[in-house]
């Protein structure tokens, strides 16, 4: 029960991270829900092997991104699906449609990148340092730097095109 309680606590603390990853890697609500469940399941599975040598967030990003990539290879959506048309789900009093629109532009640009670049960009937007990105992705910090500068160039081109 102790294990379950600490797992639930961690998931609750980081549910926003899982939400952002699932939104990044899916286009439809059903897929997003499935991926969300898959990530939570994979986190539970690897919870025993998680050692506090690395930060909880590093472990979470690593498992969540791996799950997203694996699922992406397998998934083929059939039939009618509801697209993700809103990033901020709850209409709170602070809800700003204009902000939502700008956010959609961010997602649109990032979604145009390939799967690996998407993951790197997400980590960059999350404010991670190159060293931490390297730890999460298994790339070397210099490789991360090179890839990120390429991504930045790619994004610039995309933005200029519009």
């Amino acid at each position: 029960m102790q294990k379950e309680a600490s797992f639930v606590k961690i998931i609750k603390e980081h549910e926003g991270v899982i939400f952002k990853i699932t939104t990044m890697y899916t286009d439809y609500r059903d897929d997003q829900k499935d991926l969300y469940q898959d990530i939570v399941y994979q986190l539970w599975k690897s919870f025993d092997s998680f050692r506090s040598e690395s930060k909880i967030s590093t472990w979470m990003y690593r498992v969540a991104l791996n799950t997203a990539l694996t699922r992406l290879k397998k998934s083929k959506r059939m039939g009618n699906s509801v697209p993700i048309d809103q990033v901020i789900l709850k209409q709170t009093e602070n809800y700003d449609p204009e902000f939502e629109e700008r956010l959609k532009i961010v997602y649109k640009h990032v979604k145009e990148l390939n799967v690996i670049e998407k993951g790197l960009m997400l980590l960059l937007l999350e404010g991670k340092k190159y060293e931490e990105i390297a730890e999460i992705t298994g790339l070397s910090p210099s490789n991360v730097g090179t890839k990120i500068s390429r991504i930045k160039q790619k994004l610039k081109k995309q933005i200029i095109k519009e």
Binding site: E4, F7, V8, I11, K12, E15, G16, F19, K20, Y36, Q37, D38, V40, Y41, W44, K45, D48, V87, I88, L89, K90, T92, N94, F99, R102, L103, I105, V106, H109, L124, L125, E126, G127, K152, L155, I159
Partner: protein, 200 residues
């Protein structure tokens, strides 16, 4: 839009997401168990379909069991009924057993060991059933000859034509049994793959 602007928007979004947390303890844990159970959904569906087919044949024979009017035809009927009822039940029980594991209390090594045990038993039964299928072939032929044509399979006068048909049937049963065993091995293998996936 510059990267820095993107970062600022992202950070604002993260703040808003922080405020709209909606997962409860129950949702998180049921998500985990549900994901495990779902992994066996497809294979259970196929197996259930096969079991239904066997059930239909079982009921059909049972309905006409009175037509089997000699002790040896009745024995054939009972053997056939046993054959088509035990195998699907065994398979579905094995899958049901694995699906019902509470993975929140068990670890994956335990799940894997249990599965291997169940798989070994099932395949043993399947192999036995390949040999048994030759006996079943006679039993089923006798049962269906009586039910459909009111003929006693063991008393029919046989000419060369009947023997040729008989030889073909043996060859057919041989390949059919082999195909059946391979299918079972494949099915249990894919269930095993699912269990192995849990270990990754």
């Amino acid at each position: 839009m510059e990267i820095e602007e993107m970062k600022a928007l992202w950070s604002e979004m993260s703040d808003q997401l922080e405020q709209q947390k909606k997962l409860t303890n129950e949702i998180i844990m049921s998500m985990t168990q549900e994901r495990y159970t779902n992994k066996f959904k497809t294979i259970t569906r196929y197996e259930s379909f096969g079991a239904l087919l066997c059930l239909a044949i079982f009921l059909f024979i049972l309905y006409h069991i009175n037509k089997l009017d000699t002790w040896y035809l009745m024995t054939c009927g009972v053997v056939t009924l046993l054959f088509i009822s035990i195998l699907p039940i065994l398979t579905l029980r094995m899958l049901g057993h694995i699906r019902r594991f509470n993975i929140l209390n068990k670890n994956y090594t335990e799940v894997f060991i249990e599965f291997q045990k169940a798989k070994k038993n099932l395949l043993r039964v399947q192999k036995l059933s390949v040999y048994a299928s030759f006996i079943i072939m006679f039993c089923a032929a006798a049962v269906f000859a009586k039910i459909f044509g009111d003929k006693d399979f063991f008393m029919i006068d046989r000419g060369p034509k009947e023997y040729v048909v008989f030889a073909f049937t043996i060859v057919f049963v041989y390949f059919f049994s082999r195909w059946g065993l391979r299918s079972y091995t494949k099915i249990t293998q894919s269930a095993e793959d699912v269990v192995k996936e849990l270990e990754d």
